[in-house]
Each structure stands twice: as structure tokens, then as C-alpha cells.
């Protein structure tokens, strides 16, 4: 259960970064937007690893 909650939280966190990325794009701050996009991708990769661990442990 711990890994499921952690994974879900990280996915929601990555959505926050993508949302902020759109905000920076709207302000034409492209460098910050690209950095935020990669942060979002990295966080979603961490979430993916957590979800994988949760699934395999359940199995």
C-alpha cells in the first residue's frame, strides 16, 4: 500500500511540474519551461519505478 500511495503522489507531483511548465511557456520563459518539463519527466520515472515495485510485491 505504501508504494501505491507514494507512486500516486509522485504522479500527481509530476503533473504539477507539467502544469508549471505550461505557465512558464505562457510567459515565454522557454529555458525554465524546458527544465520543468525534464523535472516532470524525471519525477514520473521515479513514480513508474515505485509503481513497478508495488505491482511486483503484490504479485
Amino acid at each position: 500500500m505504501f508504494f501505491e500511495i507514494l507512486s500516486l503522489s509522485l504522479i500527481l507531483g509530476s503533473i504539477f511540474f507539467f502544469y508549471e511548465c505550461i505557465g512558464y511557456l505562457a510567459h515565454r520563459d522557454y529555458a525554465a519551461a524546458i527544465i520543468l518539463m525534464f523535472i516532470g519527466l524525471a519525477v514520473i520515472s521515479v513514480a513508474k519505478e515505485m509503481a513497478r515495485l508495488a505491482l511486483v510485491k503484490k504479485d
Binding site: A32, I35, I39, A42, V46, E49, V56
Partner: protein, 262 residues
């Protein structure tokens, strides 16, 4: 095989080729011929030559009944004259109604070419004895698979159309393009269309089809991957990708904070 079956198969294939030819010419007329006439592109001999290239490609695809030529070669050849005269693809040439009609024509051509070229099986035999399993209801896994095929088809139609619509017709995007690229809106919009198509192909290949690949090619790879995952889980530690992603996220956050506040 009886002669009647061969005759039926020949007539069916001729009909299929005829439909693909008509729909292909319709796409050529609506994507190349009419827009080129509208912007006066045919005064340039190079553009005129490029405009004629898709026709032999279409004929070659029909003659060889080649999926690669009909589904990739012909649509790519349609872009040759557009690459030489980008104004052919600009928003003022395609109003919203005309864009919808051309989109329907293109989707009809792609679906018909894909559908008709997939008939590789032999014609039905003269005597048929139904299997006992054919009287059973369709298993859930096959219903699931048909649902996925339908969803992939809908995605392949809707997503590119929506992306191209927003790139070409959305008033905010067009106002932005006019501000950023005065005098070059047509060429930049055409390039944006190509980028949109490339982005969609990458997303479709790696995100949508990529996830289904283990199921499509059989379960052996998937079983091997699952056994590796179980071995990793027994160790109770995440894979190196976890640590790399964590380090990247923290490093980029530090860079962002440093660039904003120091």
C-alpha cells in the same frame, strides 16, 4: 481451387484497386492540384513536376499492392510540391470546411488502402465444416483486443486532426505566428504541420503501440521481463533508473532555483 473462386477473387481485387485509385486521386486533387492552382504554383516548372510525382507513386503502389508505397510513399510524395510552395498548405487556402472535407478524403483513402491491401488470405473453399469453437461466444481476450484496435484507429484519426487544426486554425496560434514570423506565416505553419505529424508518429509508435508490443509479439518476452522484475523485487531495491531519475530531478530543481534567485 475452383475457377469461380479465382474469378470472384480477381473481380474483388479489381474493385479494391479501383476504390483505392479513386480515393487516391481525390486526395491528390484536394491536397495538391486545387491548392496549387489557387496560389498560382503551376507557373514554376519544378513545382509542376513535383506535383506530378505522386501519381506514378500511387500507380506503383496499386500495381505492387504494396502497403509501404500506398500508406507511406504516396502521402510522402504529396508533400513534395507543398515543400516547394509552402503557401499551398496555408490556412487561407484551407478554410475550416475545406480542411474537414480534405481530412475526410485523406482518412478514407488511408483506411481503404490499409483495408484492401490486407487481403492476403486465399478465397473461401467450396466445402466448409464449422468448428465446434465457432459456436462459442467470442472470448473476452479477443473482445478486449478488438476494442484496443478500434481505440487505436480512433486515436490515429482524431489526434492528428486536432493537432493540425490547432496549428492552422486556432485564432490564438495564428495570431502568435503572425506576431513572431511576419511575412513567413505560411512556411512556418507548414513546418509546424510537419513537426506535429512527426510528434504524433513518435507518440503513436513509442507510447501507444510500444506498450502493446509484448502482447502483439507473444508472451515470451513479457514472461522473461516479469521474471527479471520479480528477481529485482526479491532484492527489495529499485533499479538504477530510479536513482538516475531522482538525481536528475533534484539537480534540475537546483539549477532552476539557482537561475531564478541567485
Amino acid at each position: 481451387m475452383p475457377a469461380g473462386a479465382w474469378s470472384r477473387l480477381g473481380k474483388w481485387r479489381t474493385f479494391a484497386d479501383g476504390v483505392a485509385l479513386v480515393l487516391g486521386i481525390n486526395v491528390w486533387v484536394s491536397v495538391v492540384l486545387l491548392p496549387g492552382s489557387f496560389v498560382g504554383a503551376w507557373a514554376d516548372p519544378a513545382a509542376l513536376t513535383a506535383a506530378l510525382v505522386p501519381l506514378p507513386v500511387l500507380m506503383l503502389g496499386l500495381w505492387r499492392r504494396s502497403e509501404a508505397v500506398l500508406l507511406a510513399g504516396f502521402p510522402s510524395a504529396l508533400l513534395l510540391p507543398v515543400a516547394l510552395v509552402p503557401e499551398m498548405a496555408s490556412a487561407h487556402v484551407y478554410g475550416l470546411l475545406r480542411f474537414s472535407i480534405v481530412a475526410v478524403g485523406l482518412v478514407a483513402y488511408l483506411m481503404s488502402a490499409s483495408f484492401f491491401t490486407s487481403f492476403h488470405e486465399p478465397p473461401p473453399p467450396t466445402n466448409v465444416r464449422p468448428l465446434s469453437s465457432s459456436r462459442q461466444p467470442v472470448p473476452p481476450r479477443w473482445r478486449r483486443r478488438f476494442r484496443i484496435y478500434l481505440e487505436l484507429t480512433i486515436l490515429a484519426v482524431v489526434c492528428p486532426l486536432v493537432l493540425i487544426y490547432f496549428a492552422n486554425f486556432h485564432h490564438t496560434n495564428q495570431a502568435f505566428m503572425r506576431t513572431m514570423f511576419p511575412g513567413r506565416v505560411a512556411s512556418m505553419t507548414t513546418m509546424l504541420d510537419l513537426l506535429v505529424i512527426a510528434l504524433w508518429l513518435i507518440l503513436y509508435s513509442y507510447v501507444f503501440l510500444g506498450v502493446l508490443k509484448p502482447h502483439r509479439t507473444g508472451d515470451r518476452d513479457l514472461a522473461g521481463q516479469l521474471s527479471r522484475l520479480r528477481a529485482d523485487a526479491r532484492r527489495g531495491r529499485p533499479r538504477p533508473a530510479f536513482y538516475v531519475a531522482m538525481a536528475v530531478a533534484l539537480g534540475l530543481m537546483a539549477i532552476l532555483l539557482w537561475s531564478r534567485y541567485f
